[in-house]
């Protein structure tokens, strides 16, 4: 099996954008092609990670539209929908396409246009992934987060403030990310005094609704220096995908995300490393509680101890294991199909030493992209070539 390199990367500014999904995808796609020094018609495969362009704006068929906009015909195209983990699933598909030998040059573009919808409408589009017995009760992804946060705080005797500190940390990181939706710090009092959304979680425990796009270019490592003449690129050393139950209340332990455990086990084994070898991580902090759950289920910390790591500054940018140097979904924003791609974009920047003021010492980085409330997960491990 071919080792797969990433030789080009881009992302648009995340936030409230005038552009629609086709334009957002084309913006990121064109920039990634430019970054890799290739043209659209050099691509063998072109994937689009997108959850719901049909539901959000009535635009379907986006892979073909993007191929045309980037003059990428006759590249093979496909849309990858795995809800909020569409981006991670797209990375998996792009990796497969090159590792299998089916493609010598693949581009993945993830994107979503959401902000033209009201919060209520956007929340409902996302909640439509739930089982009928959940949907009719009016459940939303934020309410799953509230249910889980209450149980976590109760079971592990964690202070409510520790969740707020995730938001404070990630907003602080987002200040230095020119692509982030929110580039401003928030203090703990602001987080803890913000309006309740899903008790005990408040407004600042949640990521925003976002427009945006991100893109990556993949090739066999054996030819990576054709596209990265300076020899500076990243290699996907491990990748794993897994699912957990569709119905959230059927999980044995509601504070454990089985898909995170299983996908990371696969990725670690492929990479030949363990959690202690990871230098930097991008986690799916759609809600602050998810950063605790993933940091534990990835093996970074013992079960019930993730909150202590945040309290002790371990996950700060200058800590032993920086988490969400990009600002995370919390600060950077969460345009569904783009988020998993943007997580890998940040890790690519970190392991190639190109993260600017966000740079940390990192040879190995990990991205964990979660769909639903842990329903589908992709974990990707990157290593820098230098």
């Amino acid at each position: 099996m071919e080792r797969v390199a990433i030789v080009g990367a881009s992302m648009t500014r995340f936030g409230q954008r005038d552009a629609w999904v086709r334009e957002l995808l084309a913006e990121a796609g064109a920039a990634a092609l430019d970054d890799a020094g290739v043209d659209g018609d050099d691509l063998d495969h072109l994937y689009v990670s997108n959850m719901a362009s049909g539901e959000f704006e009535g635009q379907t068929g986006v892979p073909n539209a993007l191929a045309h906009d980037l003059a990428a015909q006759p590249a093979y195209t496909a849309r990858i929908d795995q809800t909020s983990s569409s981006g991670g699933a797209g990375v998996y598909a792009a990796w497969q396409s090159v590792a299998s030998g089916a493609s010598d040059l693949t581009m993945l573009v993830g994107g979503e246009k959401m902000t033209h919808r009201t919060t209520s409408e956007a929340t409902d589009v996302i909640a439509s992934l739930t089982h009928p017995v959940e949907y009719k009760q009016g459940v939303t992804l934020p309410s799953f987060a509230g249910l889980t946060a209450r149980l976590y705080l109760d079971e592990y005797d964690a202070p409510r403030e520790s969740l707020g500190k995730v938001a404070v940390k990630n907003h602080e990181n987002g200040v230095d990310n020119p692509h982030a939706q929110f580039r401003k710090e928030v203090d703990l009092d602001t987080v803890l005094d913000s309006p309740i959304v899903a008790d005990p979680l408040r407004l600042y425990d949640f990521c925003p609704i976002t427009d945006g796009s991100a893109a990556l270019v993949f090739c066999p490592e054996s030819v990576a220096e054709e596209y990265a003449p300076d020899g500076n690129y990243a290699v996907i050393s491990g990748i794993g995908g897994a699912t957990d139950t569709h119905v959230v209340h059927e999980r044995a332990d509601p504070t454990t995300m089985g898909g995170v455990v299983d996908s990371s086990d696969i990725a670690y084994e492929m990479a030949g490393i363990g959690p202690d070898d990871v230098d930097v991580a991008e986690l799916h902090d759609m809600f602050t509680i998810l950063e605790f759950l993933q940091s534990e289920d990835l093996g970074f910390f013992e079960k019930g101890e993730g909150w202590k790591a945040v309290e002790e500054g371990v996950t700060d940018r200058d800590g032993d294991l920086p988490i969400n140097t990009s600002g995370g979904l919390k600060s950077k924003g969460h345009p569904l199909g783009a988020s998993g791609v943007a997580q890998v974009y940040e890790i690519f920047k970190q392991v190639t030493g190109d993260a600017g003021p966000r740079q940390v010492e990192a040879d190995t980085g990990l991205a964990c992209n979660v769909g639903g409330f842990g329903n589908c997960v992709t974990t990707t491990i990157l290593e820098g070539s230098q």
Binding site: D124, G138, V139, L147
Partner: protein, 164 residues
């Protein structure tokens, strides 16, 4: 099968409502003895479905709860939800049987009150560990107000209220 009720081996696709006069809070029982709500084609271990269990008359305990203040179209606001674990009896040794449900409103007469007339009603207070029982509601959420096709699923079901 212990004290579980059972009927056909194929089971019904209906989650609540059943085929008789009385609505049922339907869970599935499988050949390996496990029970799940909602019913699935096979058990978590892959065993075939052999019958149904009506959870309506069972009590449960609150595993966790939240009050959502930002609800989607057609949903009461606020909306207090709980995950409830049912008491399945000493003979049951399968995985926990749980359901997610709305918390009932004070004065709700044991079942009536759809999404529209329930809107804004005062909901019971619950906490982790509290004992609760199911209460039927003929409309939990307004069909057609959200993105899901109204005919694609049922909209009645069960809320939970504290056991006195």
């Amino acid at each position: 099968m212990s004290d579980h009720e059972s009927d056909d081996a194929t089971g019904s696709d209906e989650q609540e409502g059943g085929n008789g006069d009385e609505p049922t809070f339907e869970a599935a029982e499988y050949a390996d003895g496990t029970v799940t709500h909602p019913p699935h084609t096979v058990s978590p271990n892959g065993a075939e479905r052999v019958g149904t269990v009506d959870l309506r008359e069972r009590e449960g305990r609150v595993v966790t709860w939240t009050t959502s203040t930002a609800t989607p179209p057609g949903v009461r606001e606020p909306n207090t939800l709980a995950i409830v674990e049912f008491e399945m009896g000493d003979d049951y040794d399968g995985p926990p049987v749980r359901a997610l449900g709305q918390i009932a409103e004070r004065g709700e007469p044991g079942g009536s009150g759809g999404a529209a007339d329930a809107d804004g009603g005062e909901q019971f207070d619950v906490d982790i560990g509290d004992r609760v029982e199911p209460v039927y509601a003929d409309e939990l959420r307004e069909p057609g107000a959200g993105i899901r096709e109204p005919e694609s699923q049922d909209w009645d079901g069960f809320r939970f209220r504290p056991v006195k």
